[in-house]
């Protein structure tokens, strides 16, 4: 258990370089689009990929940067400062789309898929949720039935980030309804050109509008046996493990967004005058900013503490080292805490900034207005706040609150 965080010189350099790249190349390309389905930021994604930003935690030998989960969270935080849509696209690709292939894939699958994904030449996605299975992920219905060297898949997936853009999708299916979540669920590596796979509705959302959220339709979709990720029956473990890391990344994204909001609030409070005095001189404003700053500090600690735990956990999983049960539990509980605290804090950050900026904040296409629309989703996707509380409650009721 780390007591104080010190980023290594390499992590510091990484953060500075990411910031520089985002400021120069990405921020000017961010478009606030409120009509239609938003605009997928293809050029920004291409630039991120070309600079190695779509393979940060994947080891060097598979074409990534090998900068670990902490490195990935640094990227997610900086992306969150600039554009939540991009943070969502990169997150779905990196932590839940690509990482499972690294953690659970066979050596052959890793060599086949990771170099293209980690370099951004291809994009990944993760498909779990269905029309009748959201927070209760164990009740998914999409079924894969083995026929010779193929599995024939039928079903529908919802809310798949990058679903219409991805070349490779980590697809969770039921292979044995009798076993259910305990051995009856399997993850497949679905390639986009597979026959029987089609993209359905692209959702029109309140926020993160430039990331695409798609419905996936699988009708007699034949996936070769060698595309079973890891092994048959491991699917639920694959999904939960990927989501643990994904939550750390999401916590980092909303941390970045909240820091940006705090900066906007401070800037406005110092420059806006009322009766000749800057707003920042008023105690009511100071207290709101101070509360937010304190919460951001807390979120920063829990986020990077979780990231360090996930890094250790993933490293052990990927190299086949022993994974102590306590580490697994610690990761789940910390990731849930970081996600629920971070996303709800970003809600308070949005509220604080909206109130300080007053009318200026609700103007069309304003950054705060956009943050408000984007933020709400962070409390819902990759496990709602309620699901995070369930995970935390399960741990503390079993083992006590003070471990």
């Amino acid at each position: 258990m780390a007591i104080e965080f010190t980023f290594t010189p390499q992590q510091e350099l990484f953060r500075r370089s990411v910031r520089k790249l985002l400021r120069a190349e990405i921020a000017p390309r961010v478009v606030v689009e409120k009509e239609g389905h938003g605009v997928f930021p293809s050029e920004a994604v291409r630039i991120l990929g070309a600079h190695g930003m779509l393979g940060v935690p994947i080891p060097r030998e598979y074409g990534g940067a090998g900068l670990g989960e902490v490195g990935y969270c640094i990227l997610a935080e900086e992306l969150g400062r600039v554009d939540s849509s991009l943070a969502t696209i990169a997150g779905a690709h990196t932590s839940i789309g690509m990482t499972p292939i690294w953690l659970f894939g066979t050596e052959e699958q890793r060599r086949k898929y990771l170099p293209d994904l980690a370099s951004g030449r291809k994009l990944a996605a993760f498909a779990l949720t269905e029309p009748t299975a959201g927070s209760d992920a164990a009740s998914i219905k999409t079924q894969a039935v083995r026929e010779g060297d193929h599995f024939v898949v039928n079903g529908r997936k919802l809310w798949c980030t990058n679903g219409d853009r991805a070349d490779v999708i980590a697809l969770t299916c039921v292979t044995d309804p009798a076993l259910g979540a305990r051995g009856g669920v399997t993850t497949f590596i679905l390639e986009k050109d597979t026959k029987g796979f089609a993209v359905g509705t692209i959702e029109d959302k309140l926020g993160i509008r430039n990331s695409s959220t798609a419905e996936l339709i699988l009708e007699d979709c034949r996936i070769p046996v060698q595309n079973v990720l890891g092994q048959v029956g491991l699917g639920f473990v694959v999904a939960l493990t990927a989501l643990d890391g994904g939550r750390a990344g999401l916590a980092a994204g909303v941390l970045g967004a909240s820091k940006e909001l705090l900066d906007i609030g401070i800037e406005y409070a110092k420059s806006r005058r009322r009766k000749g005095e800057p707003l920042a001189n008023e105690q009511s404003i100071q207290w709101r900013l101070a509360d937010l700053a304190a919460e951001i500090q807390v979120a920063e600690y829990i986020t990077y503490h979780t990231a360090a735990l996930v890094e250790e956990y993933y490293h052990r999983l990927a190299t086949g080292a022993h994974v102590p049960e306590t580490l697994r539990e610690q990761v789940s509980m910390n990731a849930a805490s970081a996600k629920v605290f971070g996303s709800e804090m970003s809600g308070r950050a949005t509220e604080t900034t909206l109130e300080i900026l007053g009318a200026s904040s609700v103007l069309d296409r304003n950054r705060v207005e956009q943050a408000w629309r984007d933020q709400i989703i962070s409390e819902i996707y990759e496990g709602t706040s309620e699901v995070q509380r369930l995970i935390i409650a399960r741990e503390i009721l079993r083992k006590g609150g003070t471990q």
Binding site: Q10, L13, H51
Partner: protein, 267 residues
Amino acid sequence: MTGTAAVLVRRVPDPSRLNVDRKTGRLVLEGTPFILNPVDLQALELALRTRERYGHRVVVVSVDHTGAQTELHEALAMGADEAVLVSDPQFEDTDPTTQAHLFRAALERFVHPEIVFAASRSIDHTWSTIGPQLAYLLGWPLVIEAEELDLEDDGVKALAHTGDHRARVQAKLPCVVSVARGVITPRHATSWGIADAFDPHRLTVKTFADLGLGAEAAERLHAATSVRRVALAPTERDRRVIDGDADEVARVLARRLIDKGWGGRRP
């Protein structure tokens, strides 16, 4: 050319994070983050672009009294092959003149370059003469304010931007190339570059003693020049009204600008 290109680099305070002491009006450098001089990044970029075409090795070299390695890791992350840091607390009071002697020794001992890239400016005012002084000490030709560079069998051809005109210049190798400010956009470091930049074999750290300059040289490690006063150069604004139709106005304006030496050729 398949040998080595050296790029001189220097750390400077980050101008976006500077603090000013309200009483004295002077900069407070304590606690200020440092960055690579932006024009050094442009010099590095020119060296890297040249490497892509001719395949030499690019070595960044720094002389510094703090021992800080961050900026050299950044240069390695951008794509430099190796870095040499000569660091010694004795260098604190040096200026470009003394540093040019130190660079010469470091280059001759550890790098053996055929070409040296240096920035023509720095944002802290103390670096613009490093290229010319080093060329003088090495006895090598100097290309000033280079914007583009081609290497040939035994020399370089460069597009150089001097004052009010651009010129194509040639120089024999080995030579020093002082790189123009603000023309070349440096590349961004990639995550892969950052991952590989911390390979300990790529950074060599040396001290003054390693330069083999002797005790006598140590006596001379003081600034040869000092800044007495810093002031903005006076400028005057010339206002004139040009009458006539658009074509006539444009013609007169162009002629006056050319007469002033502010660009273009007389039509």
